[in-house]
Symmetry: C2
Subunit: 384 residues, 2 copies
Amino acid sequence: MEQKQMLMIPGPTPVPEAALLALAKHPIGHRTSEFSNMMAEMTENLKWLHQTQSDVLMLTTSGTGAVEAGMINFLSPGDRIIVGCNGKFGERWAEVGEAYQLNVETITAEWGQPLDPQLFAQKLEADTEKQIKAVIITHSETSTGVINDLETINRHVKNHGEALIIVDAVTSLGAVNVPMDDWGLDVVASGSQKGYMIPPGLGIVAVSPKAWEAYKTAKLPRYYLDLGKYRKSTAKNTTPFTPPVNLMVALHTTLRMMKEEGLEAIFARHHRLMKATRAGIKGLNMSLFAEDSFSSPAITAVAPQGIEADKIRSIVKKQFDIALAGGQDHLKNKIFRIGHLGFVSDRDILTCMASLEVALPELGYENFTPGAGVAATARVFAES
Amino acid sequence: MEQKQMLMIPGPTPVPEAALLALAKHPIGHRTSEFSNMMAEMTENLKWLHQTQSDVLMLTTSGTGAVEAGMINFLSPGDRIIVGCNGKFGERWAEVGEAYQLNVETITAEWGQPLDPQLFAQKLEADTEKQIKAVIITHSETSTGVINDLETINRHVKNHGEALIIVDAVTSLGAVNVPMDDWGLDVVASGSQKGYMIPPGLGIVAVSPKAWEAYKTAKLPRYYLDLGKYRKSTAKNTTPFTPPVNLMVALHTTLRMMKEEGLEAIFARHHRLMKATRAGIKGLNMSLFAEDSFSSPAITAVAPQGIEADKIRSIVKKQFDIALAGGQDHLKNKIFRIGHLGFVSDRDILTCMASLEVALPELGYENFTPGAGVAATARVFAES
């Protein structure tokens, strides 16, 4: 059926009607008081969402652009950095570091496993000369559905004292607690098409005072991604370059929605959606790619041993118009991923599970009691 | 009145209803055949608009990001470049060059005057050792309403043989002829909120084979702005990073509209709008900031000697809800600018002129026969 699509991928995530209608408004000039008033409120709300008093800046970029800006503004060529790599995005930040000729060391874990905080502790403790300038962590690894133990890793970074902690929070912010000031995170980067509930095109970077100190001496070249320019403009409720006006009007709308729902409620909802999804998959006797103890509240990866993952996606798409995400790189066709990030409700998880119950037998997979997936999902909702 | 605003600034420009409604559609996944089919058609239409067989790439950036990408992908630290500076944007590209530690030489003209092609010829001819790697030209200088003689300057670059010609076509593409292949332009950068008739948030960069040759040895660091990645993905009708899906759906719509109107008709319309605007301003006995022989078909700057420009803008805004642009930097309050770029019709110019006829006497300016502005504008329409 036309126009009946349901997005259950980790981005773009579903967009509420109010934000879609905001997108469709005639653009306004960005050098007007109308725009500045809107930006002032948005900046306040972004600080609320990041739980910070520091600067939160909006860029016209994807999430990748936001994380890259979060790295290159605070480092100089040859700087030693540690990048946690346990999925596609961790690997991407290592590539960014190499593109800028940083001295990149990776701490890796297998895709589907979390980063081991102890390995960070070892490297950071051994660095008595304080040469490590930054540690870059992907909080929620979108490619595998693993959430890394940012809080513990960050504690080791804090013990080091010198290194900045730079966080790819692209699929964690607005899904799980990321208390920037409380934990003392230095850079938190994210993208609009995730927990923010609007389409892609806006990158968001929050920057701590310690990171601004590093900015003063950081020598990597940048202009469009120069966060100092955004800081200066944001202080005047304006932007250094033409902003994506319509996306901002939409974000203005969804930030209000988020504030209305409340941080705790947002986190609780994502936690419940995660639990319900995982329970449903277990009810279908299928394997979860990431274990319960380090599963992301934004996305659940399923490893359907014995069935091609893309065949499941294809049926679910064709018959029910539900878009599930595939595996990336070597996980192509090995896993499929269910996004439950942003504008997602209990109903969506139930729907998804029910559709899987129809699709799987078509592929000859009958290793579950009909109804067991939906029932297990429903049980979580009843209990929480 | 609420929601009655009319944009006559050089960007964002007005957006047609079909594009607004396209923006409001639920986002689709960008790793789908639906998206790829759309992207394939868009890429073809962008090539048509650029009059090129070369690659035309879409980035999630503003126009500034697009021009910066168009510079840094083809140059190495210390490279000698020449930047034409006769307004805010020319100056910006010199700043970009300096941020990347290029050896920047500027060729300047006063704001409101065009660049002198002869000065480029001299520098290029004197460079017998072929050390000049690139010449960067702002085709239509948005800050002043001047169009630079790109065709002639480019001819001198071609005589040099080595240097790339990199063009900021942000407010010229889709308004005036920029025949990329015919002239042999190497990089043509633009932004969505201009002639493309959609809101800001998408940068477009076209790249010649000669520029791709330079890319192979260019050493400036980049990752998010690495055009090689976009080239590789575009060849497969996909994107290296999450694209601004909704903006692309809107651009898909407006590119079809542009194709329907036809290149010659688009250029003729902008030329007529420019002539009509200038005739109207002359009818009001006000000074045009740029002379007829080098006036931009995208924007007309007016220097209302004896009256504060911002007071005129303020009345027109308050009483008629028409947004005119102010002057930038030292031209603040000295000029105002009428945008006639993109989705603009004869009616808009007539309306703007009529509103000025009301506003000016309120500020004590009576140096015109009532009706003369509108009449002069109408005469151009009658004649063309």
